[in-house]
Each structure stands twice: as structure tokens, then as C-alpha cells.
């Protein structure tokens, strides 16, 4: 799925050499992160130095993808490991299965005592198959639907027409297209990605269940494909890739009626994608009250990191994740929706958002955050995602039969499920 990080990865950040400290008295903690998590970490340094005046924090920042590749390399060779590493949720599953991260249930961390203080699904995402908790959540991306209220009015419709089933959503899209020429959605995959995430049974992951059985012929996939077909037949998708120039331009010109994404997308639209559309947008829950997560950030401690630094590293993670002031600072400066529940009852969440026409949308997102459930991750998820995208293209572009497309995907994934 698309995440804010993809966008943030575009920013070039300088990289600094990592020096693993081996002395028993650490003078410095190394924290590896990517934009804009690095900014959040840097902002916490003054507070940290009040608590630990003798211990410096060195932030090693790399671009989004580079960071995760560097962390993979560091973990695989146990060389140049940072004391704390930030991990994005789409990578977390992969890192969690490997056993290279410290189990935070153990002494001196005892993360279970903080479990009730975090957003439930975010905490559960960090639990691996062996039951270890390998990371602490810091921010989350509750899914939301942003829509253009002016286009809705132009077509003579109201918000209540939009709330409801996926079919109602598509029907509104047809009317909007007819009345205003705007597309329902930027890319059809956005719809497919949400629909395949709704109705995941207990013990199931997105594409595989706990026993690595392939799930892609399940009704949620059939439905996602059928719905995508309906959207395409009505020409409701703009066929632009997220974060591309065409995509941003379509937002600026009011050519896109909705965007299905994380709550943070409102911040992206207001700051650079389409600031001039201020006041024209509203937020709603995703169709059929589907609750899905779009990204999120975690902090982890590598098992092979310098032992002497580990408890200090945990102190620093606690400052970033359990300190309400730090969590708020990140929320305000970087739109990082806090994973810390203590922040969720603050009046700040009730503040109206000017970009959304004064809507108190944070409350909506808070509700969504509480309803999202964690899904099992599987080692082959990224392969499965590509296979499904591929078959969706086959269905939409070459009129391949949906049943056959999913059966083909099933066959391909089955061969790989136990690797």
C-alpha cells in the first residue's frame, strides 16, 4: 500500500557514518531513521539531554527504502547496528519474523506493562509468530476517505449518499463523473487494497493464513475484483500513480473526487499537493465502515546491538512513544497520529481542521484507529501483492475472467507459500 513514507523518501537526507560504541559506559546512542521520523527524533533530543546529560543521541538518517535496506544489511551481518531503529509498518512483518530484533517482553523492557497504553492493533502488529513483541508503535495511519464536498453539491448529492456500501460509493462516482467530469479515484488499486482488507477472519492474514494456506480466492478478493471492474467500466479511475506529477495536478484541478488513504493524507494535501483546495474537502470513514491501516512507525532494538546501550535505548524509545508531550509534538509538526492512547482524549483532537472546512476529523480517525484490527503478516506478502496487482491488470485490461485470474494467482502463491 502507499504510505506517506514513500513521499517522504523523496527528500534527500545526508547520511552520517555509524560508529558502534563498544565501551561499557556509553557516551552516545545511535538511532537510525528515515524522513520525517528523523525530525521527530531530533526534536526529542533536548528533552533527552535533560534526563541524560552525558549521553548524546546520534541520528543516522537515510531515505525510506535505503534505510530499510541498510537495516536489513546491518541485521544480517551484525555490523554497524544502531541502538534503536525506526521501522515502517510494511517492513515490520518481515523484520519481526527474522529474530534479529530484541524481544521486548523480556527484562529490562517488559513492554507488556505498556500494552494497554497503546492503540491495540498497533501493538499487536509488533507481535511475531513466536509471540515475541519486537517493536514499540509510535505513530499510526488510520484509513479514511477524503472527498470533495463542492463536487458533491454540484451533482446535487449529499454526504449521506456517499455513506454506505461500496456500490453506493461507485454509484455516486458515476453521477459525479457525469455532472463534473471528476474521477472517483486516482488509481483503481486504492479501492482493491481496501476491499481485500475488509472481512479478514481471525487467524488470517491478507493473502495467507497462519498455516500458510493461500486465501486469494476468498470472497473479499472476488468482490474487490468485481468492484474494480465496475469502476473501470464506468471509467471512474484516473489511472494515475500516487505521488506522480499527474496525480498532484489532478488534485489541484479538482479532477479527483475522493482519495482513500491514511489520515495523514489531509496534511499532505493541505501542505503541498493541493493547498488551494482548502475548505473543499471533508473526511469520512471508508465505505461500509471498513477500518484499515495505512502505514505507521515503530521503534525496535537489534538483538546484536551493544548490550550496554540496550536499557538506555529502551529509555529513549519510551521517551518517544510514552511521553504525551513528545507524541503531541510529532502529531502537530509531522501529522504523525499518536499510537499513545493517553493523547487521544486531549482537546487537540477536537480542534476543527480548516483544510476540511472546520470538520473535527481527528475524532473520526480516532474512532477508526480503535476499530482497526491487526492482520497476520506473511513472508511472501510483497510477492502476493504484486501477483494480485498483476491479475487485476489482466482482468481490467485484457478482460480476463475473475475466477480464472484469482485461480492463477492462487496457484502461483501456493508454490511459494512455504518458502
Amino acid at each position: 500500500m502507499l504510505t506517506r513514507r514513500t513521499l517522504l523518501a523523496m527528500g534527500l537526507m545526508s547520511t552520517m557514518p555509524v560508529l558502534a560504541s563498544s565501551s561499557s559506559q556509553p557516551r552516545k546512542l545511535t538511532v537510525a531513521a528515515f524522513p520525517n521520523v528523523d525530525a521527530i527524533i531530533k526534536a526529542a533530543i533536548p528533552k533527552w539531554q535533560q534526563l541524560h546529560p552525558n549521553i548524546d543521541i546520534e541520528v543516522v538518517s537515510r531515505q525510506y527504502a535505503d534505510h530499510h535496506t541498510a537495516m536489513t544489511t546491518a541485521l544480517s551481518t551484525s555490523v554497524y547496528l544502531p541502538d534503536v531503529m525506526a521501522l515502517e509498518s510494511s517492513y515490520l512483518g518481515r523484520f519481526a519474523q527474522g529474530g534479529g530484533l530484541e524481544d521486548l517482553l523480556r527484562e529490562p523492557y517488559r513492554i507488556d506493562q505498556y500494552r494497554s497504553r497503546c492503540v491495540t492493533y498497533a501493538y499487536e502488529q509488533a507481535i511475531n509468530r513466536r509471540g515475541a513483541v519486537v517493536a514499540m508503535p509510535t505513530d499510526i495511519g488510520p484509513g479514511t476517505m477524503l472527498y470533495r464536498t463542492d463536487l458533491l453539491a454540484k451533482a446535487g448529492l449529499t454526504a449521506s449518499d456517499l455513506a454506505g456500501s461500496w456500490d453506493a460509493y461507485v454509484d455516486v462516482g458515476v453521477k459525479i463523473k457525469a455532472a463534473t467530469g471528476a474521477y472517483l479515484v486516482s488509481n483503481i488499486r486504492a479501492i482493491k487494497d481496501v476491499v481485500i482488507r475488509s472481512g479478514i477472519g481471525p487467524g488470517e492474514g491478507l493473502y495467507f493464513d497462519q498455516e500458510s494456506r493461500v486465501l486469494v480466492t476468498a470472497p473479499r478478493f472476488q468482490r474487490a475484483f468485481k468492484l474494480s471492474q465496475k469502476v473501470r467500466r464506468n471509467k471512474l479511475d484516473a489511472k494515475v500513480n500516487a505521488w506522480s506529477n499527474e496525480w498532484a495536478e489532478a488534485f489541484k484541478r479538482g479532477k479527483l473526487f475522493t482519495e482513500l488513504s491514511g489520515a495523514w493524507m489531509a496534511g499532505q494535501l493541505s501542505t503541498w499537493v493541493a493547498p488551494d483546495t482548502k475548505g473543499l474537502w471533508r473526511a469520512a470513514q471508508l465505505p461500509e465502515s471498513t477500518f484499515v491501516s495505512f502505514g505507521g512507525t515503530f521503534y525496535a532494538i537489534p538483538r546484536q546491538a551493544a548490550t550496554a546501550n540496550k536499557s538506555l535505548a529502551w529509555d529513549f524509545i519510551q521517551l518517544l512513544t510514552l511521553n504525551t508531550e513528545r507524541q503531541f509534538a510529532a502529531f502537530k509538526s509531522q501529522d504523525a497520529f499518536p499510537a499513545l492512547l493517553a493523547t487521544h482524549d486531549d482537546p487537540f483532537l477536537e480542534e476543527p481542521l480548516p483544510f476540511l472546512g472546520g470538520q473535527r476529523a481527528r475524532l473520526l480517525w480516532r474512532d477508526a484507529a480503535r476499530q482497526i484490527t491487526a492482520t497476520q503478516v506473511h513472508k511472501q506478502d510483497s510477492f502476493a501483492e504484486e501477483v494480485i496487482n498483476n491479475e487485476l491488470d489482466n482482468v481490467l485490461d485484457n478482460d480476463k475472467d475473475i475466477g480464472r485470474a484469482l485461480a492463477d494467482a492462487h496457484r502461483l502463491l501456493e508454490r511459494r507459500s512455504h518458502r
Partner: protein
């Protein structure tokens, strides 16, 4: 100035020390990865678990690779691209070299013409590919604009439709390596003794006859060399499709995913280093086999030259 005795290298060791930079670099960046990937090919490894997470699995990775649909699909793509970009390199390269050889008698002019054809070869692949990706752009690309003006065609989504992706990539590769082959053949043409042609002319052989009976057979060793390079290069094709396709994924329906891209993706996108290593060794076997076959086909026969 004389160095203190401690810094002086004894003549006995000097050759080894002087040659060591290459050997050390070769060892670190070539021999070690080679051996390591061979070792990895027999293991299952979750890299984030550290080196101790390796698990011996016998030939399971090879068995998986041979039964993997995408492995064969990638091989098929590679073969298609190698043929479609490789054949024209020689079919156009040889006549072009002969034309340049015969038309430009002044050496300086001939060299400049060959140099112009050679230019793409020494330009960075990345720069070329980025340039081509803007030429191929659906709405703003020069290629579509020209096609539209000349034939009134609709804009073609060169990189977004599976059917167009392969020819698009093949053309870039052909364009890039054509000049290299032209230079090879020009060099070979200059080595053909002139008296052969004079003798042929006396016997009444025309231009065409001379080309078939003298030029082409004399070029045979160079054809062998050039085709071998094309086969090896074609089977290892990576940069052009990698940069041209979205996020290096090999394009829609993986139409531009070559074997080299696929095994890279197996390791770094799909986190299967064991499988990727096994595939890279299978690819090595295929390259070796193809080279041997090329050798069989074009090897200079005794007494033919």
C-alpha cells in the same frame, strides 16, 4: 631521496605487493560473493535474523527455481530481448560497417563516423535510459508526437502496455550496442587483404559476390566474438529494463522482467536470498551453455581463413 630501510620492499616480494591491490579487490568483490552465493544457494535464509539464521535445505532452492513460473517467464523475456536486440546488432552492424568501410575512404572521416555510432556505448546506461523514458512518454514524448504528426496515430502507452514493453527495451539495447559492433566489424574489415578483392574482381565477381564469398567468411572470427558478447550481454540484461520500468519491477505483467531483474527482486523485494542465489547459478549454467553453442556455430574451422 632514499626511503628508510624499513619501508623498502625486497625485490622478492615486490611483484606480489604490486599486484595485490587487484587481487584483494577481485577477492573481496568477485571471488567472495561468488562463493558466498554458491553457499547461499543451498540454504534458506531470513537475512534480518543474522548469519546464524541460515538453514541448510539441500537442492530445494534449485528445485523451486526450476518449477517457478516466473523464473521461466523471466527466462522467456530474456531470450526474447536477447534475440530482438542482439540479432539486429549484427544484421545491421555488418552491412553498416561495410558501407562505412567502402564509402569513407579518408581515415579521419571514417573514424569520426564510427565514433558517432560508438558514442551511445560509452555513455552511461542510466543517462540513456532516462533520456529514452522521456522520449517514450505517453502524452509528452517525442516518439508519440512524431508518430502522431506522420501517421495520425493515437498516443501509445509504450511502457504501460505489456505488448509494447519488450520492443521498447529491445530498441534501446540495439541502439546502444550497434556502434560497438560496427567498430568491431570495421576493424575486421580493415584486416582483410586487398588482393583478395582484386583477384575476385579479375575473375569477374561483382560487389555482392565479393561480400558473400570474401567479406562474410573473413568476418567469421569477429562474428563469433561479437555474437558471443551479445549472447552474454543479452542474457545478463539488467539496467535498461530496470530503470525504464516503474520501481524496477519489470513493467506491466512483468513483460520487461529479465532473469537478472527477477533474481535481484527475489533477493531484495521478496527476501528470498537462497532462491535468488540458486537462480543466479542456473542462469550461469545457461549462459555457459549458450556461449558453448555459439562457439560451436561460429568457431573458425580449420583452414577456412
Amino acid at each position: 631521496m632514499r626511503l628508510p630501510a624499513t619501508f623498502r620492499i625486497s625485490p622478492r616480494w615486490a611483484p606480489y605487493i604490486l599486484i595485490s591491490p587487484f587481487l584483494v579487490l577481485f577477492g573481496v568483490f568477485s571471488v567472495f560473493p561468488l562463493l558466498f552465493s554458491f553457499y547461499l544457494a543451498f540454504h534458506s535464509w531470513e537475512p534480518t535474523g543474522g548469519l546464524q539464521a541460515m538453514e541448510y535445505v539441500g537442492v530445494a532452492n534449485f528445485a523451486f527455481a526450476l518449477q517457478d513460473e516466473w523464473f521461466w517467464k523471466a527466462l522467456g523475456n530474456t531470450a526474447w530481448l536477447a534475440l530482438a536486440s542482439g540479432l539486429p546488432q549484427h544484421l545491421v552492424g555488418i552491412p553498416l560497417a561495410v558501407f562505412i568501410h567502402l564509402s569513407f575512404k579518408r581515415l579521419r572521416v571514417r573514424d569520426s563516423v564510427a565514433g558517432i555510432y560508438f558514442l551511445p556505448f560509452i555513455t552511461s546506461t542510466v543517462a540513456i535510459t532516462i533520456l529514452f523514458s522521456s522520449l517514450y512518454s505517453t502524452d509528452y514524448g517525442l516518439i508519440n508526437a512524431v508518430l502522431h504528426t506522420l501517421f495520425g496515430t493515437e498516443n501509445i502507452d509504450w511502457l504501460g502496455k505489456p505488448v509494447y514493453v519488450k520492443p521498447t527495451i529491445a530498441f534501446i539495447v540495439f541502439w546502444r550496442y550497434l556502434g560497438f559492433n560496427v567498430v568491431l566489424y570495421l576493424a575486421a574489415l580493415q584486416a582483410i587483404p586487398k588482393d583478395l578483392y582484386e583477384a575476385a574482381e579479375m575473375d569477374g565477381a561483382g560487389r555482392w559476390h565479393q561480400f558473400w564469398c570474401i567479406t562474410l567468411p573473413s568476418l567469421r572470427p569477429m562474428i563469433f566474438f561479437g555474437v558471443t558478447l551479445s549472447v552474454i550481454g543479452g542474457l545478463q540484461l539488467f539496467e535498461e529494463p530496470f530503470i525504464l520500468t516503474d520501481k524496477g519491477r519489470g513493467g506491466p505483467d512483468q513483460a520487461g522482467m529479465t532473469s537478472a531483474i527477477y533474481l535481484y527482486r527475489m533477493a531484495f523485494d521478496f527476501n528470498d536470498f537462497g532462491g535468488a542465489s540458486a537462480m543466479s547459478w542456473l542462469l550461469f549454467i545457461i549462459v555457459a551453455l549458450m556461449t558453448w553453442l555459439t562457439n560451436r556455430a561460429f568457431r573458425p574451422h580449420k583452414g577456412s581463413v
